[in-house]
């Protein structure tokens, strides 16, 4: 049952072994995302070089969906041009909001498909993406 559901192996793997998770380094640009309603609290850090995301990390706490989504995000965005990353964030936002259908924004986030069906989990999924988007957009402005 769990295979088709929210908790696919891929998601659980990202939760158990989150990629690019750990304390942020000095000099990183940082942005926090927090949802006091469920206690999710995450900070995203990036190093941009020539409008490309050279490095991206996050730390914090949250439910499996929140942590796995942040982990997937770092994999999907590392090395990407900053404006593509912004587009990706927006695409993820709308893909999640629509709950079903639409094209998967990035192969690395496909495992979030089970979670986006549940409106109550949208904030969990999007917490890190919104933080990244704020960070990159503020920086571009």
């Amino acid at each position: 049952m769990m295979d088709k559901g929210l908790y696919r192996e891929v998601l659980l793997d990202h939760f158990r072994n989150p990629r690019n998770k750990g304390s942020l380094e000095e000099g990183m640009q940082r942005e926090r995302g927090s949802n006091p309603r469920c206690g999710d609290d995450i900070e995203v850090g990036v190093v941009q070089v020539e409008s490309r995301i050279e490095q991206i990390r996050f730390h914090g706490r949250g439910c499996s969906v929140c942590i796995a989504s942040a982990s997937m995000m770092t994999e999907a965005c590392e090395g990407a041009p900053s404006d593509s990353a912004i587009s990706l964030c927006n695409h993820v936002e709308s893909w999640v909001g629509s709950r079903e259908g639409g094209t998967v924004p990035h192969p690395g986030v496909e495992a979030l498909d089970g979670a986006r069906a549940h409106a109550a989990r949208h904030t969990c999924i999007l917490l890190s993406w919104r933080a990244l988007c704020r960070l990159l957009t503020a920086d571009a402005a």
């Binding site: 908790y7 206690g39 439910c63 969906v65």
Partner: protein, 407 residues
């Protein structure tokens, strides 16, 4: 000797009959409805509907009578005294805000105090906090003691500057009951009024304002298997006499054209707008249903289920049940956490397995802070639950333990 945990009332609840695989353990959020309530609501909407107050034709007179009969039924159900008055509101939340804005605001002076406890719901915390801040009074939050409860001795230092003690009858997170009468006695000794939040208790234990000796009690219909969108404030007439209306408009004014409008007599003064006939009738039907079931029988059934669930959960690997060693704890609610797993994940997986539990702060952030957690998983029981629900809960949590490899 094993007590039977079968529910003699389960078959009264159509949603459970239709969904035999549903294990509804979220009654502390809102309770399912028995046919009697559904039917009462259908009848008043489609057969006995009419406007209330001053109608001069039969349908209006019947509607007015039905509305006032509902008021009496609930007055009795909550143990109201003769000098109490029952006001229909939209919810326990509105009832508390009405007392805060309409009454407390006008009696508090800077330096006064209002006491609440750490385990109050936001609805029994924020309204008082807002008024205290506006007035320059102090809101004191009585801390949890070591067994995660509140006891009456924590009110030994009440003093005459305290104008109000607002406490819940039962915690909607821990399921512990407060010693309401003892606290009320101490409060009255220093001249403070006592408001009891019965929102959580009302579905499964006797609410008795008179025996408690309190000054006001609030509750919502939806937590006692009644409709949504209606609640009550039952309070001493003397308190309500000096309560300013939160809402002004039709029905609550005798003379609107005067420089200083003349409010109507109680309870109309505090019920601006067209009364909620359908809600009142259906809420009274819920009270009648619970009375017929026997509120004491309901209470022991729910306590047995709660006890059984807590004991079983506490055995599981990585599970910590909150307030496990507290006395007076089996009031329909078990909150727990699972090592390394966020309550959302527990709730979601349980949900996928047909077990409806809640995960979150349960509108009790001060309590979460005191417990040092962000959230808990909460399973809550009502008269329609039985041992199959307890078993399903336990096996759902076992499943989560598996999925997340809790050690």
């Amino acid at each position: 000797m094993v007590e039977s945990l079968a529910s003699p009332w389960r078959h009264d609840f159509p949603q459970l009959l239709e969904n035999p695989q549903l294990h509804y353990l979220d009654s502390a959020a809102t309770a399912l409805k028995p046919s009697a309530v559904v039917e009462a609501s259908r009848r008043v909407l489609s057969e006995d509907y009419g406007p209330i107050h001053r109608g001069l034709y039969p349908a209006a007179e019947r509607a007015t009578d039905a509305y006032e009969a509902a008021r009496s039924t609930l007055h009795r159900f909550l143990g109201g005294r003769e000098d109490d008055c029952l006001v229909f509101t939209r919810s326990a939340t509105e009832s508390l805000n009405l007392l805060a804005e309409g009454w407390l605001q006008s009696v508090l002076v800077p330096g006064d105090e209002v006491w609440v406890t750490t385990l109050e719901h936001h609805a029994n915390y924020l309204p008082w906090k807002r008024v205290c801040e506006r007035v320059g009074a102090t809101l004191r939050v009585v801390p949890l003691n070591t067994d995660q409860t509140i006891d009456a001795t924590q009110f030994d230092d009440l003093h005459p500057r305290v104008k109000l003690v607002a406490i819940t009858a039962v915690s909607n997170v821990l399921g512990v009951a407060l010693p309401v009468s003892e606290i009320a006695a101490r409060a009255h000794a220093v001249g403070a009024l006592v408001v009891v939040d019965a929102a959580q208790a009302i579905g499964h234990q006797r609410i008795d304002l008179a025996t408690w000796g309190c000054d006001a009690v609030v509750a919502s219909a939806h937590k006692m298997s009644g409709p949504t969108g209606i609640g009550v404030l039952l309070a001493r007439r003397s308190v309500l006499e000096c309560t300013e209306p939160l809402l002004v408009g039709g029905g609550m004014v005798d003379l609107a054209t005067a420089e200083q409008p003349v409010w109507a007599a109680l309870p109309s003064k505090l019920e601006a707008g067209s009364p909620n006939l359908v809600g009142a009738v259906a809420m009274a039907a819920a009270a009648d249903y619970l009375s017929d079931a026997g509120i004491d029988r309901v209470e022991s059934h729910v306590a047995a289920l709660t006890h059984s669930a807590s004991e079983a959960l506490a055995q599981l690997r990585g599970v910590s049940v909150l307030a496990l060693d507290a006395p007076e704890r089996d009031h329909g609610i078990v909150s727990f956490n699972l090592d390394g797993v966020h309550p959302h994940d527990v709730g979601q997986i349980a949900g996928e397995l047909g077990v409806a539990v809640r995960a979150g702060h349960h509108c009790c952030q001060p309590l979460m802070q005191a417990l040092g957690v962000d959230a808990t998983v909460r399973a809550s029981f009502a008269l329609y639950n039985d041992d199959t629900d307890v078993d399903a809960l336990v096996s759902a949590v076992e499943n989560v333990i598996d999925v997340f490899g809790v050690r």
